[in-house]
């Protein structure tokens, strides 16, 4: 187990290093920040001077080596726009993103699990049809449109919640619901099809024949087996949401990392792009590791293979 963990951690480090390298070179391709950072009318000399000050005039390989060296010391450099350490700028936005993704994942998983189970157990009934139609709609509705509609109805017309912003539970409701709609639709559809597959398995029939309570069968024989792909999907969605949900954050003026990174890309604020992407890559890797460990809990065969 320890050996397994160590291998996984090593793999994770290599993945993060790969992401850092790709991001470094891609940002250098997208252009020159100095022209955007200086006011209109700055001369070519002033642009060159700023590039020199930011260290962007040095050979790419030299910049890369310095950068990787600094990253190993936990230094992601100073943001070009904010004039503060880039990682600090990114971490400041992390609580908002954590709050929103956690709320959306919990809400989405709960609703998705219930809806998916109903659709599977009541196959062929009106209930299944309704759940499946809503799940399809939920997946197909553009987040942007849904967000604006929710704002217009609940914030402008009814005045129940604020139109956007950050700070209280009431600010969280609309963006969390918007994201949860997508999350629960995906989970409901996946869980339903998995449950239907598992319900056909021999061991379920055996369990029924043994006269076990339907609840016991559902939880211990069906549920556990149907959950493995769902857990993977929750993991992937969590990773995506923790990377910031740009559209939702923009529509609801939610100050998360997604919006920050987009802003940094627009302004070519290299250090913030790098710090942000590095953090997201790290989170993704951690989640993957967590999912791997969870598989073991759900399926002893996977545990034994290690």
């Amino acid at each position: 187990m320890i050996r397994y963990l160590l291998t996984k951690i090593l793999e994770a480090l290599i993945a993060v290093w790969g992401v850092l390298t790709i991001v470094f070179f891609v940002t250098r391709i997208i252009g020159d920040p100095a022209a955007l950072l200086l006011p209109l009318g700055a001369s070519a000399e002033q642009i060159d001077a700023l590039n020199a000050q930011l260290g962007l005039d040095r050979p790419l390989i030299e910049q890369y080596i310095t950068y990787i060296g600094q990253v190993f010391q936990g230094d992601f450099g100073q943001s070009f726009q904010f004039g503060r350490p880039a990682m600090q700028v990114v971490l400041e936005r992390m609580p908002a993103t954590l709050e929103l993704s956690t709320a959306a994942i919990i809400l989405g998983t709960l609703i998705g699990a219930v809806a998916g189970s109903i659709a599977a157990l009541k196959k062929g009934t009106m209930a299944e049809l309704i759940v499946m139609i809503f799940a399809l709609l939920g997946q197909a509705t553009p987040v942007f449109w849904l967000g604006i509609m929710l704002i217009l109805f609940f914030a402008v017309d009814l005045g129940w919640v604020p139109t956007g912003g950050y700070g209280t539970i009431s600010h969280l409701i609309l963006p969390a619901v918007t994201l949860a709609v997508f999350v629960c639709s995906s989970i409901a559809r996946l869980l339903r099809s998995n449950l239907l597959d598992v319900l056909k398995e021999d061991y379920v029939r055996t369990a029924r024949a043994k006269g076990l309570m339907p609840r016991t069968i559902f939880i211990w024989h069906v549920g556990r087996n149907a959950l493995i792909p769902v857990v993977t999907m929750i993991g992937i969605i969590t990773g995506e949401l923790l990377g910031g949900s740009v559209v939702t954050e923009t529509v609801f003026a939610w100050p998360g990392v997604g919006r920050l990174i987009i802003q940094a890309i627009e302004a070519k604020d290299f250090p913030v792009i790098q710090a942000g992407v590095a953090l997201i890559a790290f989170i993704f890797v951690l989640i993957n590791l967590a999912i791997d460990l969870l598989y073991g809990l759900l399926d002893p065969r996977i545990r034994e293979r290690r």
């Binding site: 022209a35 006011p39 209109l40 001369s43 001077a49 604006i148 129940w160 529509v251 302004a267």
Partner: protein
């Protein structure tokens, strides 16, 4: 009695939910008469006034916190602030007389020495101030007495006073031990109470302010990047001022009865910039044909509901010093355009590209569509390239590879022909025209501070640009806004959004 207990249970749940819901039903920023909320498109990035040139966000917020020598009033005229009086002693010397008793909240004096320290700071190469370009011509700053400061420039700089309206003063002693990018020490009407990066920044009236007490006790600047959400926040009564409203939304806002929306001409000129270095744009008749082929008035009416004004064959609007009142726009005349095209001898199958930075200018993407289709109507082969603003600037300034045409908006913060026109002078990073006569006129304009002489020179320069069809001149981008019924705000053509230009509606 199980039914009763069940009903009682639900009643209890409902009451609990209601109690929970009640505080939510009040508008998010419970607004009393003494507070005002302004929506911004982008968040405040830095609090260091020398590290940003962004008037619509950073500098607007900082103008509440730090003093400046002069301010630009809503009518776009300069008004005294810390400087009670400013005069030109000679062509290259400016003298400023400062208000008495001005101090920062930590007790530091806002005097001639503080002004000098700040002007020295932005010019110090080691500091790397982002706005250093504005003060390139400043050669010396001299403290005459504690309330008088003299600034020498290496050559005449008539727009220097205008430039100072965007220059804010930091407390020198405090700045030695603090990081102005993330900390503040007020010397203006407000002080920072709370700053949640990316969300909002809240200001409270500065009790130690040396000037007149501001109208509002609290000012909130909220970042709302999406325009639909900004309008929603205005209609829901959460914010009192939004800008950059699409003209198509104006009617809806006015009909709601909650707020008032309208537009005024901005200082930003929209144009199709022409890259004279690329075939066939060096051909004068061809460029003139483009100017005749585009229906400016039609664009203004159809896209902006008549809320924009067609440019008078120049990139200056009437607000600019040096505006030429004698120029008239090229009329919409497709026949004349076709005739000119024929005379130009240009091969009509030559592919033409129009670049436009995506979502940068008010309804700019739609305008580009119309332009392309009107050029196609006279037989040209036109392709639109929508690109990200950063990539566009890079292509324009760094790679020097602008397409044959680019839809662009230009404004110059000092609202002076010098600066705005300089972007078309040979050698300037923005220039794709390379006209030596035009360059010579601008040099002459810069060599004098005599307003009459300057006006004559800029009249000649703008006429040359119009006759040569250096660009396709389109319209003044409308400065649109929405204001809640709670406050008044004088609309303005530049980007400043300030609470001290607002008052409580009686």
């Amino acid at each position: 009695m199980p039914l009763m207990s069940r009903t009682a249970f639900f009643a209890g749940v409902a009451a609990g939910a209601l109690a929970f819901a009640l505080p939510l039903s009040a508008p998010a920023s419970a607004q009393d008469a003494k507070s005002v909320t302004i929506a911004m498109r982008v968040s405040v990035n830095t609090l260091d006034p020398h590290m940003t040139a962004s008037v619509g966000s950073d500098l607007s917020v900082l103008s509440h916190i730090y003093p400046s020598l002069l301010l630009r009033a809503p009518d776009l005229k300069l008004q005294p602030a810390l400087a009670k009086k400013w005069t030109m002693v000679d062509d290259v010397t400016w003298r400023f007389e400062l208000a008495e008793g001005a101090t920062f909240a930590n007790g530091e004096k806002i005097d001639a020495a503080a002004v000098k320290w700040n002007l020295d700071r932005v010019r110090d190469k080691a500091v790397g101030a982002r706005i250093a370009a504005w003060f390139e011509l400043v050669s010396d700053v001299r403290v005459v007495d504690p309330l008088t400061v003299e600034v020498k420039t290496s050559s005449p700089y008539p727009a220097f006073a205008d430039q100072l309206s965007m220059f804010f003063l930091l407390p020198p002693e405090w700045a030695k031990t603090h990081n102005p990018a993330s900390e503040t020490m007020s010397g203006g009407p407000y002080t920072v109470a709370e700053n949640v990066p990316g969300d909002h920044i809240t200001l409270k009236a500065n009790p130690d302010y040396w000037g007149e007490k501001p109208a509002f006790d609290t000012v909130n600047f909220r970042t709302i990047p999406e325009i639909g959400s900004r309008v929603a926040a205005l209609m829901a009564g959460e914010v009192d001022l939004v800008t950059g409203v699409p003209t198509t939304e104006i009617e809806r806002i006015n009909a709601s009865g909650n707020a008032h929306a309208d537009a005024v001409d901005s200082t930003r000129s929209m144009l199709v910039k022409i890259n004279h270095q690329k075939n066939p744009m060096e051909n004068l008749k061809f460029r003139q044909a483009l100017n005749y082929a585009i229906d400016k008035e039609g664009i203004v009416q159809s896209i902006f509901d008549g809320k924009a004004t067609v440019s008078n064959c120049q990139i200056l609007s009437p607000d600019y010093f040096g505006y030429n009142p004698d120029l008239k726009p090229y009329p919409y005349d497709p026949d004349k355009a076709a005739q000119l095209l024929e005379e130009s001898g240009v091969d009509l199958s030559t592919p033409l590209e129009v670049e436009v930075p995506v979502s940068t200018y008010l309804q700019g993407d739609e305008v580009t569509q119309i332009i392309a289709s009107q050029l196609q109507e006279i037989g040209l082969t036109v392709k639109i390239s929508e690109i990200d603003f950063g990539a566009f600037m890079n292509k324009q300034i760094k790679a020097r590879d602008l397409a044959q045409m680019a839809v662009q908006g230009l404004a110059w913060p000092t609202i002076d022909a010098d600066g705005m026109l300089t972007m078309f002078a040979p050698g300037n990073v923005y220039d794709y025209w390379n006209n030596a006569d035009f360059g010579k006129l601008l040099d002459e304009g810069r060599a004098t501070t005599d307003p009459e002489k300057r006006k004559t020179i800029y009249a000649e320069a703008t006429k040359l640009m119009c006759d040569q069809a250096a660009s396709v001149f389109l319209y003044q981008q409308p400065a649109t806004f929405g204001v809640s019924n709670k406050v008044t705000w004088q609309p303005r053509g530049d980007d400043w959004v300030r609470a001290f230009d607002m008052s409580v509606k009686e």
